[in-house]
């Protein structure tokens, strides 16, 4: 085991996999600087700088994956994937089906996501619900360094497209670049257990599509992932002080969703709370509700999500993203209702 930051854990997984598999290469804007530790080891052939042409290089990633490479395409922030959406929606997600299951796209899309540092509504979205809505694509959202390394390893081994989302509040270098952390006059609510932690050396794969019980409880089930997971854990300790035992589950993957774990926990507690930093409508929170209903489990349901455009002002942003206060209020409502 070794102590690593979130970013170091992802780098470590990539380095391990790249050393073992010559087909893996990384491309994206500014990667020689952003991934400089990989660059000095593997050079420009395998760590390749791109122009600001996401539609071209994400599309090229799909083609390269079809032709035998295992590309990791970096879309700096997931918001920017909008200009390249065709590559995922109509190409990567369809090749396997269109070819009658004979041709795979082993592509990893890596992007930073999430808010909490005052960067406004075009740079802080999560979008995992929108991405997961496409058939044929997996979307993973690790909440700590060990899962980050493990899910990256699994993504690199997967024969199908995987979107790997890295929350910026967990990645020190993103906060430095985008939040201006270096000025020392601003602060962020960074969950310590998510930004740094123990990682096995060499890192061990974490299966895609498997959630994890982060805290056991019997009064209600709280489903979340990414940074919100940590907000839920904080809320759960406050709830425990009031005698309410919340079971907190880290979903880790949006697709495939761990439906069994969701149904089991909901059956046990009879109350379901989804805490999702992504948009509320037509996304993960609704999918969890459908999962519970389809499993024939009767449960009370509530959700704490992002309900509109993320405001720039810090105080407005704090209210728009799931926070401890909102989570506790929703949980108390559920339990008393």
């Amino acid at each position: 085991m070794a102590r690593m930051t979130f970013a170091q854990a992802v780098d470590c997984a990539l380095e391990t996999a790249m050393a073992a598999d010559e087909r893996i290469m990384v491309m994206g804007e500014d990667v020689t600087m952003l991934r400089r530790n990989l660059y000095v080891r593997f050079g420009p052939r395998r760590v390749r700088q791109t122009p600001i042409s996401e539609a071209a290089f994400l599309g090229a990633g799909v083609g390269a994956a079809m032709a035998g490479l295992r590309p990791v395409v970096e879309i700096m922030l997931v918001d920017f994937i909008a200009v390249a959406y065709d590559a995922l929606l109509n190409e990567a997600s369809k090749v396997n089906a269109f070819s009658g299951g004979k041709w795979n796209v082993p592509l990893v899309v890596r992007a930073a996501c999430g808010g909490g540092y005052g960067d406004g509504g075009q740079h802080q979205q999560c979008l995992w619900g929108m991405l997961a809505g496409m058939p044929g694509i997996s979307v993973v959202v690790p909440s700590n360094p060990a899962d980050a390394a493990g899910l990256m390893l699994s993504a690199l081994e997967c024969d199908h497209p995987v979107v790997f989302l890295e929350h910026k509040l967990l990645s020190d270098y993103w906060l430095d670049y985008l939040g201006g952390a270096s000025r020392g006059t601003v602060s962020f609510d960074v969950p310590a257990g998510g930004a740094e932690g123990e990682v096995a050396k060499p890192p061990q794969p974490v299966p895609i599509g498997k959630g994890r019980v982060a805290a056991e409880g019997s009064d209600l089930s709280v489903f979340s992932l990414g940074v919100s997971l940590h907000r839920c854990l904080e809320a759960a300790s406050s709830l425990a002080a009031k005698g309410i035992r919340a079971e907190v589950i880290d979903l880790r993957s949006v697709t495939p969703l761990d439906r069994e774990l969701i149904a089991d926990s909901a059956r046990k507690t009879g109350r379901v709370l989804v805490v999702d930093e992504d948009y509320m409508g037509f996304g993960l929170s609704g999918e969890v509700a459908a999962t519970v209903a389809e499993a024939g489990v009767e449960a009370a349901f509530a959700r704490v999500c992002c309900e509109g455009v993320i405001p720039f002002a810090r105080h407005l942003e704090e209210e728009a993203l799931p926070n401890k206060r909102r989570i506790i209020a929703a949980a108390l409502d559920l339990v008393s209702g």
């Binding site: 380095e15 804007e29 500014d30 020689t32 600087m33 400089r36 530790n37 990989l38 660059y39 000095v40 080891r41 050079g43 420009p44 700088q49 791109t50 122009p51 600001i52 042409s53 996401e54 539609a55 071209a56 918001d79 920017f80 909008a82 200009v83 540092y117 005052g118 960067d119 406004g120 509504g121 075009q122 740079h123 270098y173 430095d176 670049y177 985008l178 939040g179 201006g180 952390a181 270096s182 000025r183 020392g184 006059t185 601003v186 455009v309 405001p311 720039f312 002002a313 810090r314 105080h315 407005l316």
Partner: protein, 341 residues
């Protein structure tokens, strides 16, 4: 036609002093998130927008404050906005990358390249409504490789849209030398879409003004779009607190952070191709050195260049007026902030 150099210098000084004030607020932690300044782009912005008339539209990128200052947007309301105040230009919802002023027909976006199609839409509306308006799109050399931009150049040309594309070429996109990821030449590329393409030294406001005059005249006459490629320096790095500039400013402190992991990666086992790896290490060092070096040693400040063209007495007066205008806006913004704080 000849430019009114004092008017241009006045605008440039207003932009510079405004951005200095913005930087100060950012450093004090009053402005959250990223802060991209347009320091170094003043001559391009002033030279182009001197031709703007009421009713013209502006589509801007992430360095949107200089054009908005030139356009006459209330300075205090922009400062309040970047501080996230309710009284700000956009009610605290937009922030510095997403400044919008409907009354000035001015919008901006943090998505690289999107000012080109937005400008095409503004131009389409102007053409359709036929009231003589035109649209300006500002973007960087990095954005010129974005599909959105290339498609918009074609659209504007095919539809003869009254649009002026202004590419502020600072030769960098964050840490990437644009040249190293660009095929061919940007000016010729634009020309191949069937529009006039002007290449100017964007640190010389009078030259920008002359090129823009032709582009604007053509747009107003209904003859279609033009492209202006104006070279300029990026004086404050990609954004405030730019880690690469930091490496240059405090080399020892930063070397301690960046050096060991790099060395570890370069010498990690198996130790194959060591010579080549050292070469890669050198590339990183060189990138950092050119970035820093350009900023500190060779950057040509367009403001100083323009100042030389202005008679001494009026120069002092112009600077004085611009400074007090900005100081007054800062005072007003801080007052508004206190009221609501």
């Amino acid at each position: 036609m000849k430019p009114d150099i004092e008017r241009l210098y006045r605008q440039m000084a207003r932009m510079r002093f405004f951005e200095e004030a913005q930087a100060d607020l950012w450093n004090r932690g009053l402005v959250p998130g990223e802060m991209h300044l347009g320091m170094g782009e003043e001559a391009v912005v002033a030279g182009v927008l001197d031709h703007l008339r009421e009713g013209d539209a502006l589509a801007l990128d992430h360095r949107s404050t200089p054009p908005l200052v030139a356009r006459g947007v209330d300075l205090a309301s922009m400062l309040l906005e970047v501080m996230g105040e309710e009284e700000g230009l956009c009610g605290g919802m937009g922030g510095h990358m997403h400044l919008f002023s409907r009354e000035h027909l001015a919008g901006s976006s943090g998505i690289v390249g999107s000012s080109a199609p937005m400008g095409a839409g503004f131009a389409l509306a102007a053409q359709y409504l036929d009231q003589g308006g035109i649209a300006f799109s500002f973007f960087g050399d990095g954005a010129a490789n974005q599909g959105l931009v290339l498609e918009s150049l074609n659209l504007a040309s095919a539809w003869k849209l009254p649009q002026v594309f202004v590419c502020k070429d600072n030769s960098w996109a964050i840490t990437t030398r644009t040249r190293s990821v660009t095929g061919g030449c940007l000016a010729r590329r634009a020309a191949s879409f069937g529009m006039p393409s002007f290449r100017v030294d964007g640190t010389r406001v009078e030259r920008v003004w002359t090129a823009a005059e032709k582009a604007v005249r053509r747009a107003r006459a209904g003859r279609g779009p033009s492209f202006i490629l104006a070279s300029c320096p990026r004086m404050e790095g990609h954004f405030l607190g730019d880690p690469l500039l930091r490496v240059y400013k405090e080399p020892l402190k930063q070397a301690v952070e960046i050096g060991p992991p790099l060395a570890k990666a370069a010498f990690s086992r198996p130790l194959s191709a060591l010579a080549r790896r050292c070469g890669y290490l050198g590339n990183i060092g060189r990138t950092i050195a050119t970035l820093g070096g350009e900023r500190y040693l060779t950057a040509i400040d367009p403001l100083l260049r323009a100042a030389r063209l202005v008679p001494e007495e009026s120069r002092a007066r112009i600077e004085e007026e611009a400074r007090s205008e900005v100081a007054e806006a800062v005072a007003r913004a801080m007052e508004g902030r206190r009221r609501h704080g």
